[in-house]
Symmetry: C2
Subunit: 635 residues, 2 copies
């Protein structure tokens, strides 16, 4: 059984936790990021994205290009992700002013497109002659991909076709080169593959499918393509090492790959497109490769927070079980990409395993990427912060103890915005017989198969999920997360014993049915495999999908704390509204007295105490202090 | 009270542990390294050191330079350290053949010296015009320093003056430039400072003292010297970053420095020269700076093994308490330098604190740098090895699980050789009234103050140290190490209650006295400050000065092991002759059963077991396997 592509369901988040975050995106993040894109946000890094489009249009018209291009070679994609975030937001929260702002930006983008369909401000402004000469570093296909995603989302949100037509022309330009004219190569940074699949599903333009298939299958067939490409030109963007075939996942064809390696965002973007293609084409060989790569990530290379890409060196996956807490890279974008990959694997095979990881990555690493006020953002998401070491030691410079307002490389902030505002796309799925509820979020959903329902829940802080079936007559599939040690489902107040397949409870629903899913609200301890050197003797705390952490603001010094095995975990009675409505968890613990010297031959004395944990995603909102997810365990 | 410079005592190691290592140096390491220096050692990295001297001599004579220069810019120093090792070895173990070999090498070196006293094969062969233009990277002063040390040692060993005269001419050449002609600058890699102090103490040539003082005091007065120097030339050796003032300890004058920073070998070589100069000149300001830097290292930045320089990035000190086990750099040379620094601090102030660290670094990190067969060498000394991660993960490439035969950058192997063969210089000290016994080693010592004694001990595997006083009439000062929770001293069989000042027991000895020092032989646990994030909840095992570690060869998988707090530590009945005569220690432990998944919400079950530890310095001698110094503690 497969789930149809997510675009088929309409969903309107109306309340609860997700609504609050989506409102934050709408009310704060989208306007704030628009100011950033226009270089009007005080104290934030310069972006220049909008100016780049204006200057590219001038360049095409042969006018003076003003202050030229500024930013990363892939700066255009920040605008694309912002449009996508705005588009998804407009689906749930119509807003004429925002729509007009987006329309105006789309007009600018259209003006920056060349006659032949080419669209990229870096090369249009800097040197048209260098187009398509540096697939390894140039990010032209990457930027096109992001803009295609934006085009699809904006069409879906508004029915407006302008950007979609721009990107169809762009797709045809790319098709002409790589398919019709058989140009060699594949993108340095995968992204366009998954975007072309979106374009294909929306427009049914087979050129898009053909291009996606081409880029996915040709990758790594010649692992030395980037070296050959580099040899042909006398310039580079960053001087990337073309011989590092792991970095860009081109050491072998994807179908032959077994381990998730290299730049983690590139990897999961590639796998997302591949999983989507595999499902579309019933390519079992490709799907098997995706499954192997999924297992490589989630069974051996993923943090308990759903963070992936443990090393700064190449922003990359490390080897199996190398999961350092303090130097974890864990780019926010990588966990977003992991959600995308999980969503596609889930469509190919409705198994809660995928939805569980999707949820884990969302509620922990993705949300941790955003300050609770929506104005600051983490690029990296370590599991330990020690002021004095983090961001100061040479090996820890990337481990920021506080979120900055923007980043020179600003891929993450708009990526988080578009992800949060498209939450419904990850929460629901369907096929002709069944409506799938993967994630829990307040709101209304209209499935294309006719099912319509409203969901109300305080999840992830409440563990009851109510569904009112407005239109039934089909099967409902409710995910039971693996973390929930017990659960119950009632239909109209009666216990319901549903068939559970791969973690989904399947049962038929009729119009007017009231379904209640109750999950296990008890906090619990988590342990790691002994194969993870960093985590031997350690324990963490979770409740529902939320990983908790211990921060200085609640505990003073965190380093001397150890948790007691089997100690009682107590959930606070009240939510902390200043901390996103979080409920704290208090754990039985001991606090070691420092020995007063670097080493001592006497055991450190310890005093019983309580250790207070907050959800990991809320850390770093109360000033710089020690933070740990994993504590040593007294047993 | 000060101790006179160590050169004053003569010592002949004749048995026991140190003798075995010195014989290994003499019988294996010195001959093996000589083969390496001549590029005749199979499977070892090319050295070309001897060929470089030959080719430099040819260059000076205007002859064809053959295959030119090969190796690091500081390749000459490998020959210098080899000569020094040979010289120290000749003191205890006369050997005509070896002496002739050294003489021949010295003849070659003398031929490679330019008329003006300049001596450096890299610049002599490659480009004479580039001499002294790149103090930052060129290592000319560094190589001179090492050759001065070799010259002093060889004169002391043989009374032969040829190399000493070569280096006196070299010193005068340097004096002329930097003092007489007031050339600006200071060495990128300190070393010549401590060597000039040695030259001064041997020759009483005040130019050497003046030069040492100059280089130590001028350093960092202009922190931008290397940038200015770099701006004047159009070439570099490695493209070092001249603006990294911490790397080369030139961010401020040494007297104003508080933290041990930058390249750790450079740092401790500099501090060694400074401490020696401070003692010589009674410069309390300089000595205070050395004391602050000593505390920075030993109280906040040193591993339990006496390893220093925790990060690969710049082979450098990190910040306080950042002491990762798995990625520890801990260069062998840095611990040798720490011993040198400790020895000089000890001369300035006879406090066991210095001798304890000297001993810790020697018996653990320095000896770990050498394979038990004397043919392979570690450059880095991590405290954890996990096959599959160590040397494979991008952040761990330097953490070798096995010693290679030689290194492209071969500073450590000959450094370890010269250190081991000069052990007596660290073991003893004296002034007019007192003979100091800092470290324990079998053999005979003649102090210049008239005291003569023999020492017999199985230390560090035996804890009784016997001294036969062949010539008395002075005070004997015996160090009582801080790790020894109890001790006793007897004189001629009677308990002796000596005054103990700063960890030294002082008492008068007469000819014929038999003194016995008995130290605590019980193995013990070690704990770390809660300020060290890496070590919370962890424990290590020591016996005497030896840090122990747990290796796969004795334990199978080490990662699942935890030690029981207060568990009995049992020393094996027999020494393992295949493992350098080591006694194993068995600890009460538990072994966790793996949960079979990356994360689990169930605690890992644990089975009681025994964990077997071996001395850290013997690890890596039985194939590649897991190794850990610190284990999680069950408490």
């Amino acid at each position: 059984m497969k789930i149809q592509h997510q675009i088929s369901s309409a969903h309107y988040i109306s309340g609860g936790f997700i609504n609050r975050w989506q409102r934050l995106v709408k009310d704060t993040i989208i306007p704030y990021q628009y100011e950033v894109l226009n270089d009007r946000a005080e104290g934030a890094e310069k972006s220049h994205v909008i100016a780049n489009f204006k200057n590219a249009a001038k360049a095409l018209r042969g006018e003076d290009i003003g202050d030229g291009f500024y930013g990363m070679v892939f700066q255009d994609s920040d605008a694309a992700k912002w449009i996508e975030a705005a588009a998804f937001s407009l689906i749930s929260y119509p807003d004429e002013v925002l729509e007009k702002t987006v329309d105006a930006l789309i007009d600018l983008i259209a003006e920056a497109q060349d006659e032949d369909g080419y669209l990229n401000t870096y090369f249009t402004i800097n040197d048209k002659e260098k187009r398509w000469q540096n697939l390894m570093e140039g990010h032209e296909l990457y930027c096109s991909g992001h803009m295609m995603e934006a085009a699809c989302a904006y069409y879906e949100a508004t029915g407006k076709k302008k950007l979609l037509e721009v990107m169809e022309r762009n797709a045809e330009h790319i098709y002409k080169m790589f398919i019709a004219e058989k140009r060699e190569g594949y993108p340095g940074h995968p992204e366009i593959e998954l975007a072309l699949m979106k374009m294909y599903r929306l427009t049914r333009n087979v050129h898009c499918l053909e291009l996606a298939e081409h880029f996915i299958n040709v990758r790594g067939v010649d692992p030395h393509f980037f070296e050959k490409e580099a040899a042909k030109r006398d310039w580079s963007v960053w001087g990337n090492d073309a011989t590092n075939h792991h970095y860009a996942q081109n050491f072998a064809p994807l179908k032959e790959q077994n381990d998730a390696v290299g730049h983690s965002v590139r990897a999961v973007y590639l796998y997302t497109g591949a999983a989507d293609l595999a499902a579309e084409k019933d390519d079992t060989e490709l799907l098997s490769a995706c499954r192997r790569l999924w297992e490589s990530i989630t069974k051996r290379r993923m943090y308990v927070t759903g963070g992936i890409g443990s090393t700064l060196i190449g922003e990359a996956f490390s080897v199996d079980y190398d999961l350092p807490n303090d130097t974890a890279y864990n780019e926010t974008c990588a966990s977003i990409g992991l959600m995308m990959f999980a969503a596609k694997m889930l469509e190919a095979d409705p198994d809660r395993e995928y939805a569980d990881v999707m949820e884990l990555a969302f509620y922990n690493t993705v949300l941790a990427g955003v300050q609770l006020d929506g104005k600051k953002f983490f690029y990296t998401n370590p599991l330990e912060i020690i002021p004095g070491i983090s961001h100061i030691a040479a090996t820890h410079w990337h481990a920021l103890p506080q979120r900055p307002g923007w980043h020179t490389c600003a891929c993450c902030p708009p990526n988080a915005a578009r992800l949060i505002s498209s939450f419904g796309k990850y929460a629901y799925g369907e096929n002709t017989t069944t409506a799938f509820c993967h994630l829990y979020a307040d709101g209304e959903v209209s499935f294309k198969n006719g099912v319509k329902l409203t969901c109300s829940t305080e999840y992830p802080y409440g563990f009851t999920v109510n569904y009112d079936i407005i239109q039934g007559g089909k099967t409902l599939a409710l995910r039971i997360p693996a973390w929930s040690k017990s659960y119950s489902i009632t239909k109209n107040g009666e216990a319901l014993s549903a068939e559970v397949v791969k973690g989904y409870a399947y049962f038929d629903v009729s119009t007017g049915d009231k379904i209640t899913l109750t999950l296990d609200s008890a906090p619990y301890y988590v342990y790691a495999s002994t194969k993870v050197p960093e985590l031997t003797g350690c324990v963490a705390v979770k409740r529902g999908p939320l990983v908790y952490c211990f921060e200085g603001a609640d505990n003073g010094e965190v380093l001397p704390l150890s948790l007691k095995r089997g100690g009682k975990l107590t959930v606070s009675d009240t939510a902390d509204t200043a901390l996103d409505g979080a409920f704290r968890i208090t754990a039985e613990a001991v606090r070691a007295d420092d020995c007063g010297s670097l080493y001592s031959s006497e055991p450190l004395t310890e005093q019983p105490c309580e250790a207070v944990a907050i959800p990991y995603y809320t850390w770093g909102n109360r000033g710089e202090n020690q933070m740990r997810v994993w504590l040593s365990e007294v047993r």
